[in-house]
């Protein structure tokens, strides 16, 4: 995947209230935002945020209400004016742009989907979907054709002539999404876009978004307070707390190495088997036998005995997985006289393998039903490592332990 930076946020601050300069100075002195509020009646919305958003990824900004995530996304299209710092879109700093330039930039590159849908009640669904194009001065025929296309993408072309109020919440947000897509933006900002929908519809909309994203790779900045949502749709996640970005990484990164207790607390109650994949937990501590140097079953057996292992993982010269042999199957082969003493004749027939992208949930039956560790392969069939029952259980246990530690910590806090 290309790692071209689409949006870069550098040391971004937003301070609301009467004395932003004073508050900035106090912040530099290292004061807390609560103390600053007491002293200056000024609220620190976002402080010293820096991160990069890559082209074509879904970047989720997650945090509880008041963490500054909505402020953050509005600074990306300057609906909210940053107090300090810079936002680079395709390398251009938008903070220093004039209002006219900003209008042009928004028309050319940005669009937005809102939590409250924010559809125009006096316009039809089609007119709403065409709104961005109308603003940009596209003629009626073209914009309605493109709006209709966008409505088709979200399955609402039949409702083009309706008013938004006649539609259900989920359908209204599809219109909101169509309006965002119709302008064919480089960057789609989604501010808690699915939070107002009920859970079933929300999941449906997430799937819809992923489907659309699979077709046309857009850069999507998605704001959410819902961890499950962030995990499902995010390629990478930034976690915000009290105006600060506390951690940025892939869902797996953050789950496995939470930066602090706040992040850890977020993941309390999250079932790791849904998020961690086989590739995340596979370990390469098993004995591998290269088919080139192991033509001879005897040599392979020697290697297993020397390493005190019962099973060996046979790979070819390019690391591609071939099969699993055991000390028993090798001995059996050596004692036999009716077949050639080739390593492949000692492969265990029931042995399967897992893909690196399979979730823990998916591989559980395979791991549980055989004594050997399940080999994990990448997309080209190369051996990455294996997952033993022991390893699987340890991963589960660690998640559980962290959960208990977090519960204990929060209980202490209450008393």
């Amino acid at each position: 995947m290309s790692r071209e930076v689409k949006v870069a946020v550098n040391n971004l601050f937003k301070i609301f209230g009467p004395h932003p300069k004073k508050a900035m100075a106090l912040l530099r002195d290292g004061l807390d935002k609560e103390i600053i509020f007491e002293k200056t009646e000024t609220t620190v919305g976002v402080q010293n945020a820096s991160f990069e958003i890559y082209k074509g990824e879904i970047f989720v900004i997650m945090g509880l209400s008041g963490s500054g995530k909505s402020t953050m996304v509005r600074m990306l299209n300057r609906l909210i004016e940053p107090t300090a710092g810079e936002v680079l879109i395709d390398g251009e700093n938008i903070v220093s742009k004039s209002d006219e330039e900003m209008v042009k930039l928004r028309r050319a590159k940005l669009s937005m989907v809102f939590q409250s849908f924010a559809l125009m009640p006096h316009m039809t669904v089609l007119q709403n979907a065409a709104f961005g194009l109308e603003i940009a001065g596209v003629d009626k025929e073209t914009r309605e054709a493109r709006a209709l296309q966008a409505l088709e993408q979200v399955g609402l072309e039949a409702w083009a002539a309706s008013k938004p109020e006649e539609l259900s919440g989920g359908m209204q947000q599809r219109v909101g999404l169509a309006r965002g897509l119709a302008v064919d933006p480089d960057i789609l900002l989604m501010d808690e876009a699915f939070s107002a929908l009920d859970p079933l519809i929300r999941t449906e909309m997430q799937d819809e978004l992923l489907k659309l994203q699979a077709k046309a790779k857009r850069t999507i900045v998605f704001i959410s307070h819902d961890l499950d949502e962030a995990m499902r749709i995010g390629d990478r996640i930034a976690i915000m707390e009290g105006g600060r970005v506390v951690q940025v990484g892939t869902p797996e990164d953050i789950l496995q190495n939470p930066a602090d207790d706040y992040v850890r607390a977020f993941f309390r109650g999250v079932d790791p088997t849904n998020i961690l994949t086989a590739g995340d937990i596979a370990s390469d501590t098993q004995v591998t036998i290269r088919i080139t140097d192991g033509r001879n079953p005897r040599a392979a057996l020697q290697r297993l005995i020397k390493n005190d292992r019962d099973y060996g993982y046979v790979i070819d010269s390019e690391d591609r997985f071939q099969g699993i042999v055991s000390t028993d199957s090798l001995r059996e082969l050596i004692e036999r006289t009716d077949s050639e003493h080739l390593l492949k004749n000692a492969y265990i027939k029931e042995a399967g393998s897992a893909n690196a992208t399979d979730s823990m949930q998916e591989i559980l039956p395979e791991v549980a039903s055989h004594p050997w560790a399940l080999p994990v392969l990448d997309e080209d069939g190369r051996y990455l490592g294996a997952i033993s029952k022991n390893l699987f259980l340890r991963t589960l246990h660690r998640g559980h332990q962290e959960e208990q530690a977090a519960v204990a910590a929060s209980n202490e806090g209450e008393y």
Partner: protein, 279 residues
């Protein structure tokens, strides 16, 4: 000198105002006469329209409007109203009043909607405008009738100007309210898609404020009708005339039919315009 006995006038504001108006009249009457021109033109146009049309056509026009916007009952009510004022011998006066009221509302809309939009979009402008609107609504019309007459001379145009002063505030306030009631998310959405402030106004705020603006126009119309009698005092003519004349000569009957005609006309115009606003 004792400043707290209040035995004598310290600030001669009355004299200052007197002098100022005298000075205006003496030196700049031509300016005010020029202001009169467009109002006079508009009024004469409507008056000509209503008086040259055969009464049957006027009744038919209003009946059609009532039918389209307000339904069967208002249609019947309109026809009955016109027939009644006709049989009461007040047809000509009614037409003059209609022309005057419509002209007033037209100029109120011309000034009031832009003012309302500006004060809807700017807190500072609203803060500045508010005392002026309060004054316009609370100063008894008799106070400004005299200077209006001095500057614009007696007649229907002066009547319209006095009416505008009185009828303008609700339109400004309701327009401002309508603009302010537009959900901020909608404005945010428009801005996010690259709308200029003018586009936000034209495509989002104005259409969504329309019901409120229509309510303001309806209020302005009602207030303009309530000024008809006062306007008659400065020679505006129309349905105010029989009322004023009746008052002066103690002809209660004459005052009554004038008053009745105004009320009926007001009810009819109210129902039709409300029906129009609802669409």
């Amino acid at each position: 000198m004792n400043l707290l006995t209040f035995k004598e006038k310290i600030i001669p504001l009355d004299e200052w105002v007197q002098d100022f108006v005298d000075w205006l009249v003496f030196n700049h009457r031509d300016i005010f006469q020029a202001i009169k021109a467009p109002i006079e033109l508009c009024l004469k146009g409507f008056e000509w329209f209503f008086t040259t049309l055969p009464p049957v056509v006027v009744i038919l026009l209003f009946a059609i409007a009532a039918w389209r916007f307000a339904g069967k009952r208002v249609t019947v009510f309109s026809i009955v109203t016109f027939l009644l004022v006709g049989y009461l011998g007040l047809w000509e006066e009614t037409m003059t009043t209609l022309a005057m009221v419509i002209s007033s509302v037209f100029f109120c809309a011309l000034a009031g909607i832009p003012l309302g939009i500006m004060s809807g979009r700017s807190d500072r402008f609203e803060l500045m405008l508010r005392p002026a609107l309060d004054a316009m609504q609370t100063i008894p019309p008799f106070v400004y009738l005299v200077p209006v007459v001095m500057l614009f001379s007696i007649g229907t145009v002066s009547g319209i100007l006095a009416t505008i002063v009185f009828a303008l505030p609700p339109l400004v306030r309701l327009t401002s309210l309508g603009i302010r009631q537009v959900h901020p998310e909608l404005i945010e959405a428009a801005l996010a898609f690259g709308a200029t402030p003018w586009q936000v106004l034209r495509k989002v705020q104005f259409p969504l404020a329309m019901p409120s603006i229509m309510a303001g126009l309806n209020q302005t119309l009602m207030m303009a009708l309530s000024m008809v009698v006062i306007a008659a005092l400065i020679g505006a003519g129309g349905l105010g005339n029989p009322v004023v004349q009746g008052l002066n000569t103690l002809e209660i009957g004459l005052a009554t039919i004038g008053g009745l005609a105004i009320v009926l006309l007001a009810m009819m115009l109210d129902r039709i315009t409300q029906g129009f606003a609802r669409r």
